[in-house]
């Protein structure tokens, strides 16, 4: 099992890269034929990735979020999954290059941290916490997507303002679409992350008898959620639109990335499983 899992793990970044190249070729117009037939490649990649995850989960008797490898890999998978839904529902492949490149980077990072150690923490073998972790990761995925859409909005807005009718202009979707997708992703992120955090609090109180109010990662998650929640609420009240909203989503995400990085690597936390 270990050999199979390792082989797939090392191959996955290459598969992600292949998909990114495919979308790059669609983006640049190198592929003029069958640009609408990319979904089977994505679904194939999704299946392979789920297989790798399933092998690790059953072989190591843990949920796929306990190590850096598993966390990043799961995040890449959830981005891929959400992107497939977006592509199928909106039949627009223009954002594929941006979103899938992000998933590819995460998958590459995860491969550098590949290990094969059986899980010893009781917490991480508890299926209730798996629900909490998966929901939280899905929430972060939605927030990441929101930032990617916001970035695309800023680029397209700039193209239109400066009259730069190049490749990026022609391949990126309409401003209103990007704005809608960014806001929708924020809303989904707030809901999923909110449910994930709530579930985590309830479970930790049930199992450990405490909410871990001073745990940096708990505090950070709560702060991020509150930031996005009130940011969104404020934008609705103030009727912030377009570029304002895009800058907010993008800067929010950068703050999230930097602070999370600092907390994850430099501060002690009961959440530190690796």
């Amino acid at each position: 099992m270990k050999t199979i899992s390792y082989t797939i793990s090392y191959l996955l970044p290459l598969f992600y890269l292949a998909v990114v190249i495919l979308y790059y070729r669609i983006f640049t117009g190198t592929i003029r034929t069958h640009p609408n037939k990319t979904t089977p490649f994505l679904v194939g990649l999704l299946i392979i990735h789920i297989l790798e995850l399933a092998i690790r989960t059953f072989s190591l008797s843990t949920m796929p979020l306990s190590s850096i490898h598993d966390s990043f890999s799961f995040l890449a998978l959830s981005i891929l999954f959400v992107y497939i839904i977006i592509e199928l529902s909106l039949n627009n492949r223009a954002s594929g290059l941006f979103i899938l490149s992000f998933a590819f980077i995460l998958e590459v990072i995860s491969t550098f941290y590949l290990t094969w150690e059986k899980e010893t923490s009781e917490l991480l073998t508890n299926p209730y916490f798996a629900i909490h972790a998966s929901m939280s990761v899905m929430g972060y995925t939605a927030l990441s997507l929101s930032a990617i859409y916001a970035l695309m909005y800023i680029i397209q807005n700039r193209n239109l303002k400066k009259k730069k009718m190049g490749l990026l202009y022609s391949q990126l979707p309409a401003l209103s679409y990007l704005e809608k997708m960014s806001i929708r992703s924020v809303v989904i992120g707030i809901i999923l992350l909110g449910l994930g955090i709530m579930h985590g609090h309830i479970q930790s109180n049930r199992v450990f008898g405490t909410y871990f109010p001073m745990d940096p990662k708990v505090l950070l998650s709560d702060a991020i959620w509150l930031f996005y929640f009130f940011g969104y609420l404020l934008s609705r009240i103030m009727k912030w639109r377009g570029r304002w909203m895009a800058n907010l989503a993008l800067s929010g995400f950068f703050v999230l990335l930097i602070v999370s990085g600092l907390v994850m690597f430099f501060m002690e936390s009961f959440h530190r499983f690796f």
């Binding site: 309409a174 401003l175 209103s176 639109r241």
Partner: protein, 426 residues
């Protein structure tokens, strides 16, 4: 394999003749019906196709007699249209065989169009073909020419960027609007000025589904007339502020010497709509819109030069696709040639005849040793005559089915199977 195909064409196009000549040379659908039926009856041709648009009038003729028939048809057209254009070598082009096929494939793909890659020509040829087919003027050659031509144009349009991007100022405006607003259903357009330019742009936006059109004009009666046309609302110039309320696209094309729309007017409008995108097209010369408005958040201002720049860039992009498109056309011609070699009537008849003749020769060789020499000539004559009669029946059947491509193909396959003739040409 031979490169022969009994097909030729002559025509007048935008490349050779002025619009006045093209106008006079054009044939209406009724005229086309009449001409085609006359030519089939009179000039001993198997099939013909007339492609008559505002940019070209081209006649494609097929059948063994096509080379003789072409000059006769040209003269017929001169007489019919009471002109001398069709025999004027200066303004007509004549081609035959696969050069004519190449031309047809170029035309149907938009490669020969005045605006490179325009898709309208494909629909026009489709109509011309349907007309020819309906009156029985489309024989196997014409059927297959159209069939392969359609395939070639589809390949060209899907494998290249020959038909991509707006190539008119109005469409460039619509295309830009699509990059700002994903959908047009709930959007509104404001026309400042009720002249032809603004009207043309409004037609394009209306066609794309924008329901709400407002018109502001110095002469209110003119605004009202245009508003009626678009089922919109008219405003006098003094009502500009009111008309701007909640509008998404502004098209301005007046002859005003001063700016009509300035930052002072637009700033409060944008603030009120929370800086939601507003797309402004300034088609006037001198300009109607103060360039400063572009600094307002959410305002996208494009003038005539900007739009012309987009059109030119798109045309350049299309031009770069010509070699790729020609490659596809060459491949399609090769396929067409292959099909013609194996399925053209002359080829099919020749191969069946060869088959019968080889049987005849074998039987004659067997008899030759048994019969006295002086009787052989009569026998040879007799067997030849029988063979010709049998062949005549086959030719009759093939000719009868030649207007229906599917039926013709079925019949050819049946003959090939029956006489164990190889589908590939010699």
């Amino acid at each position: 394999m031979t490169d022969y195909i009994p097909l030729g064409y002559f025509g007048i196009s935008h490349k050779t003749a002025s619009v006045e000549i093209r106008d006079q040379a054009a044939l209406s659908p009724d005229e086309q019906r009449f001409a085609l039926s006359q030519w089939i009856k009179t000039f001993g041709i198997d099939g013909a196709l007339i492609v008559s648009t505002c940019n070209r009038t081209e006649i494609y003729v097929s059948g063994e007699n096509y080379a003789v028939a072409l000059p006769e048809i040209r003269q017929w057209l001169n007489d019919y249209k009471q002109c001398s254009y069709f025999t004027d070598e200066q303004i007509t082009t004549t081609q035959s065989g696969y050069t004519a096929v190449n031309h047809f494939f170029n035309v149907i793909s938009g490669m020969d169009s005045q605006i490179l890659g325009e898709p309208q020509i494909t629909g026009q040829i489709k109509e011309a073909y349907n007309l020819a087919r309906d009156i029985g003027a489309a024989d196997t050659q014409i059927n297959k020419l159209y069939d392969f031509g359609m395939r070639a144009q589809k390949m060209v349009r899907t494998h290249t960027f020959l038909s991509e991007g707006a190539v008119s100022v109005s469409f460039a405006g619509v295309e830009l609007a699509r990059k700002i607003f994903n959908k047009f259903e709930n959007k509104s357009v404001l026309l400042i000025g009720a002249g032809e330019t603004a009207e043309l742009a409004a037609i394009h936006f209306k066609d794309k589904g924008i329901p709400n059109i407002r018109i502001v004009n110095r002469t209110e009666s003119r605004a009202k007339a245009l508003a009626e046309k678009f089922d919109g609302k008219a405003y006098p110039l003094s009502g500009l502020n009111e008309a701007l309320d909640d509008v998404d696209i502004v098209i301005s094309a007046t002859s005003s010497k001063e700016y009509i729309l300035t930052t002072e007017i637009l700033n409060p409008v944008c603030k009120k709509r929370n800086y939601e995108p507003i797309f402004i097209i300034d088609l006037a010369m001198p300009r109607d819109i103060d360039p400063e408005v572009e600094n307002i958040d959410g305002v996208f201002l494009y003038n005539l030069d900007n739009l012309n720049g987009i059109v030119q860039a798109n045309l350049e992009k299309r031009k770069k696709e010509i070699p790729k498109a020609q490659e596809i056309i060459d491949e399609s011609i090769a396929e067409f040639k292959k099909w013609m070699m194996s399925h053209s009537m002359a080829s099919v008849i020749g191969r069946i005849k060869k088959h019968f003749d080889s049987i005849r020769q074998k039987e004659l060789d067997r008899l030759r040793n048994k019969l006295p020499n002086n009787g052989m000539e009569e026998i040879e004559y007799l067997t030849q005559s029988i063979m010709n009669k049998v062949m005549h029946q086959h030719i009759k059947m093939l000719k009868k089915s030649s207007s229906d491509l599917e039926k013709y193909q079925e019949q050819v396959e049946l003959f090939f199977e029956l006489y164990e003739v190889d589908g590939e040409a010699d």
